[in-house]
Every structure is written in C-alpha cells, then in structure tokens.
C-alpha cells in the first residue's frame, strides 16, 4: 500500500507554505490566467522573455496545495531555461504524471525536484491540480491566449 506521504511529502508541503517566485511581475511580457474549476484553483503566470530564454517566471493566485506547490516547483525549475528546453520539460513532466506506467530511477532522477509531484498519479482527480500551471505556461509561451482552463 502506498503512503499518503507519496503525495503530501515534505517538498510539496514546504512549497505550498512558502511558494517560490510568488509575486506579481510588473514588467512581464506575458500574463496568463489559469483556472481549474474542480478545485477553484486560480493562478496568474507572469513570463518575461529574453529572446529565446525565460528571463523571469513568477505566479500569484490561490489554490490547493498541489497546484501551488506545482507552480512553485515549475517556476523554480524553468527560470533561465531556453524556451525549447522548457517545452521539453513540460512534455516529460506531463507524460509522467498522466501515463499509467511505473517509472525507473533514471527517469525520476531526470525530473529533479518536480518528481515530488508524481504522487498525484494515484489520485486521478488531482492530476489537473498539478498540471494547471504547466498548461498555463504552455499557453503563455505560445503567446496566443489570456486564460486557460483545465476543463
């Protein structure tokens, strides 16, 4: 039997309590609102680009621990990355939380701190909480919409 700590482990609880990059960015190039009607999670994602690089990434809003921790971990992981690299991390992360396969140590290692969110796999109803910020980022990078919903 899995342990609840698989989901609400320290890293999640910590990032929920003290979310990183939790601030409104005054000079953002793009601002996109993400909304998850299930939990009522609502976040604004602020993106500043320097050519093909994510110069700065922050968020604010309110939501469940999973959505806040996920946004905190995501912004931490992607700041300074090239846009193309961010997209590939998105694909990797999204595949890992939505597929039904177990993952080997190497895959988990490769995800880094984001692996803390893999516990949502056991709670299908909560996967959207973990992926909300990622979908919002995806939209921000594409630069074509102002809001994104998980529904």
């Amino acid at each position: 039997m899995f342990d609840l700590k698989d989901l609400y482990q320290e890293v999640i609880v910590d990032h929920n309590r003290n979310p990183r990059n939790f601030r409104k960015m005054q000079d953002a190039d793009r601002v996109v609102e993400g909304f998850n009607p299930l939990c009522g999670d609502r976040l604004n994602l602020y993106l500043k680009l320097d050519q093909d690089q994510i110069a700065d990434l922050s968020f604010d809003g309110s939501g469940c621990a999973i959505s806040v921790a996920s946004a905190s971990l995501m912004t931490d992981a992607l700041k300074g990355k090239k846009v193309a690299d961010a997209e590939s991390v998105f694909d990797e992360f999204h595949n890992m939380v939505t597929d039904n396969k177990p993952h080997d140590a190497e895959e988990i290692e490769h995800l880094g701190k984001l692996a803390a969110l893999l516990g949502v796999k056991d709670y299908p109803a909560r996967v959207k909480c973990a992926t909300l910020c990622w979908h919002t980022l995806h939209t921000a990078l594409a630069g074509n919409k102002k809001t994104v919903s998980t529904e």
Binding site: M1, V13, C39, C64, A65
Partner: protein, 419 residues
C-alpha cells in the same frame, strides 16, 4: 429490519438499530485504502439498501418490458409496478392525486420543466422571479435562462452569516410583479432548513406561485405538499436511497392542466395525425418517451424502506449525529463552520486552517473517509462566505458516532501534515 421500529422507537438515539440498518447497505461493508469505508457524502448521493438493489434486479431479470401500451403479461406487470410507485410517492408527499406526480430525471429536470412550461407560457417582460442566495445552481440557471427568454427579472433573497434567509428582505422583494418564487427547502451547501411554509404563504399573498426544491429535504424530513400548499415540489430519487436518473415533479393539478407539454413524443399523446396532436391527460402529458421504468420501481422500493424505518426515527438519529459532530468539530483547531443556522440538518460544511478543501478531501480519502469538497454547485454561497470551496461531511441514518470520530481523527491528520 422489523416493521414496528416506527412504533417502538422514541427519539432516543440509543434505541435506533443502526447496526442492523448498516447490514442493509452492502456498499458500506468495504475497505478503502485499507480502512473501513466511512461514507459522508450523502448530500451528493445516498447509498442504496438491498431492497432497492433487489427490486432493480428483479425487474430486469423477470419483467423488463415497456409500459402502458403492451397487452402482454410482462408489460402489464411492469405497468402495474410503475403506477404503484406513483401511488407510493403520492402518499409519501401527501399529494392529492397521482395525477400530480410526474416522473422526470431528477430535481434539475423538474425545475427546468416548470421554468420552460409554466414560466415561459405565463411570464411577461418585467415580471419577477425570486430565488435565494443559497440556491443550488440547478435552481438558479433555469431561471436565468427563462429571464433571458421572457425579459423577466431575477430577484435574490440574501442570506445572513449563519446561512439563513433574511426574511425581512424577502418581504421587501414581494410585490405585484412577483410571479414565481423558487426556493430550496434545505440547503445542500449549508444544511439550513428554510421556513418554506412561511415563504409560500407570503408569496401567495401577492399571487406568486412557489416551487420548492426538495432535493435535500425528502431524505431527512417529512414533506406534506398539501399542508405546505406549495405549487410545485421537486426531488431526486438518488438522494432518497433510490436509483439515479429518476426524480419527481409534484404540481398542483389545476396548474399542471393549464401548462403546455415540456417535451413531445410517445406516451404523452392521445392521438396524433400529421396535422394535429391531442395530448394525453395528467400525469402522462409530461412523460414523453419510454421513462426510466426500473428507476421508478426502484424509487418505490426506496420509499418503502424509508417509510418502514420511519422519518421521525431517521430525523432523531441524524439530529443526534450532527449535534455530536458539531460539538466534536469545535475541538479541532482552526475549523470554521460554514452554515450555522438554528434550523439545520445533518450537514457539516467547514474550512480547516488554510488547508484547501481538496487537499482535505484527498487526505481523508486516504483514511477511507468520503466527503465532498468544492463549491457544492452553490458558488454564490461560497462568494457570500468568501471561500473558494468548503469541505462538507453529510450524514445519513446509517452513519454512526464512531464515524464522526473517524472524521475528526482524519481532520487532525490534515492539520498534522500541514502543521
């Protein structure tokens, strides 16, 4: 279960045979995540007693057939069982006639039927529909749609911070333009029992008709539509220990007679030519197409079960449970109750510290405890209390004091994890 419980049982919780009752509900005998299931999501849907499950099984196994038109034995048996259920419902809510009992998919469809049939055929621009701030979305959106169609205006009775209707404000809203008052009997998000008899009398004084949404009420309190004098009363079978997909619209016969059909099709007609259709009599005028026959018969079995257990006994047991749960919840740190009406049923809606309700729901699920988390299809209520969501434990008569204890242990675990 013994049939004389109703006679022998006084209000005392100690004599309520909850352990026997629990054996009637097979779904309760299981473990979730290795813990005995504690099912506290009864306001969303209730569990089904064996007698209901067996009734559905018996229908499909032995006399499944279409009703009303068949001349063969199975059809006659199915028709008789279907119409017998209508009779049970008539008695259960004390309608004057089975003509006043219309089968629909659920409370939602019943409200839409009244809005589109009664409302659309009678409202004029500027007429007013009154609802309240504590309505379920199903008693808001059909009226908003109707207002768009007829240029009628929606007026709202506000609630106070205990989650009670502010009756003085309701009084002020009533005037000669008020045509429909649609009000929830018992709030699903707060548990508040509304003074519906008062509300109905006040509406009738200005000649408005009243629809009462009884979705949460029928499983917890006796309903007598003639004594209430409500014009319409709606409820869903699945919140009354019956199947999903079946519900009831009660309407006063003289109103139903005047209303145009809601949907056209088979069974709601007397005669059809390609030019003209002669509609069937009540209640069939509003039952187009093959209905949910098994659901209707299953709902009849559910009502038999509730009647046998006795609503007075059920209510007494649930009152004891909610009093205990409320008292215990006050011992949990930073728990804020949402919905503290003086008159309320066994619904405990709350927030806990700064923990998001969905995190509470997931942690409790891991402990084998099923509760509801979210806006409970009552977003205006969440707005009133300025919370995005609440956690809601809702109790039925098969719940126990030990399960309340399990809930409180689960909540303390939430505090521990997020501590």
């Amino acid at each position: 279960m013994s049939t004389n419980i109703a006679q022998t049982l006084s209000a005392g919780q100690s004599t309520f045979p909850v352990n026997t009752i629990r054996t009637d509900f097979p779904i309760l005998q299981q473990e979730i995540h290795g813990r005995q299931l504690v099912y506290l999501d009864n306001a969303a849907t209730t569990q089904k007693p064996l007698s209901v499950i067996a009734t559905l099984d018996d229908y499909y196994r032995h006399y499944n057939s279409n009703i009303h038109r068949g001349v063969h034995s199975l059809s006659e048996k199915a028709t008789a069982a279907y119409e017998a259920s209508r009779g049970k419902i008539k008695d259960f809510i004390n309608a004057a006639s089975t003509k006043e009992v219309i089968f629909v998919r659920g409370a939602t469809e019943a409200i839409n039927l009244v809005a589109q049939s009664y409302g659309r055929s009678t409202l004029k621009p500027g007429d007013e529909i009154i609802i309240s701030e504590m309505e379920h979305h199903s008693n808001i959106v059909p009226w908003q749609l109707l207002c768009d169609q007829t240029s009628a205006v929606l007026r709202i009775i506000p609630i106070n911070d205990d989650g009670e209707l502010i009756m003085e404000e309701y009084k002020k809203l009533l005037n000669e333009k008020s045509k429909i008052v649609a009000i929830v009997h018992i709030s699903n998000a707060l548990g508040t029992i509304n003074p519906v008899k008062n509300i109905i009398d006040m509406a009738h004084a200005v000649n408005a008709v009243v629809l009462v949404d009884g979705a949460q009420a029928v499983a917890h309190t006796g309903v007598d539509v003639q004594s209430l004098e409500c014009d319409f009363y709606v409820f869903s079978g699945h919140k009354l220990f019956g199947p999903t997909g079946i519900g009831v619209l009660y309407g006063k016969q003289e109103l139903l007679e005047r209303m145009p059909p809601y949907q056209g099709g088979g069974d709601m007609i007397k005669m059809v030519t390609l030019k003209k259709t002669l509609f069937n009599d009540l209640p069939y005028k509003f039952e187009a197409g093959t209905p949910h026959i098994a659901g209707v018969i299953g709902l009849g079995a559910a009502i038999d079960y509730v009647t046998k257990t006795g609503l007075a006994n059920i209510s007494a047991w649930e009152t004891a449970l909610i009093q205990y749960a409320t008292a215990e919840s006050e011992k949990v740190n930073n728990l804020r109750l949402i919905g503290t009406a003086k008159e309320k049923i066994s619904i405990l809606s709350f927030t806990l510290d700064k923990i998001h309700p969905h995190d509470i729901g997931t942690i409790l699920d891991h402990e084998g405890i099923a509760i509801r988390t979210g806006h409970h299809c009552a977003m205006p209520v969440m707005d009133h209390f300025q919370v995005p969501a609440t956690a809601r434990a809702s109790f039925a008569f098969y719940n126990t004091h030990a399960e309340v204890d399990r809930l409180m242990q689960g909540l303390n675990k939430c505090l521990e994890i997020f501590g």
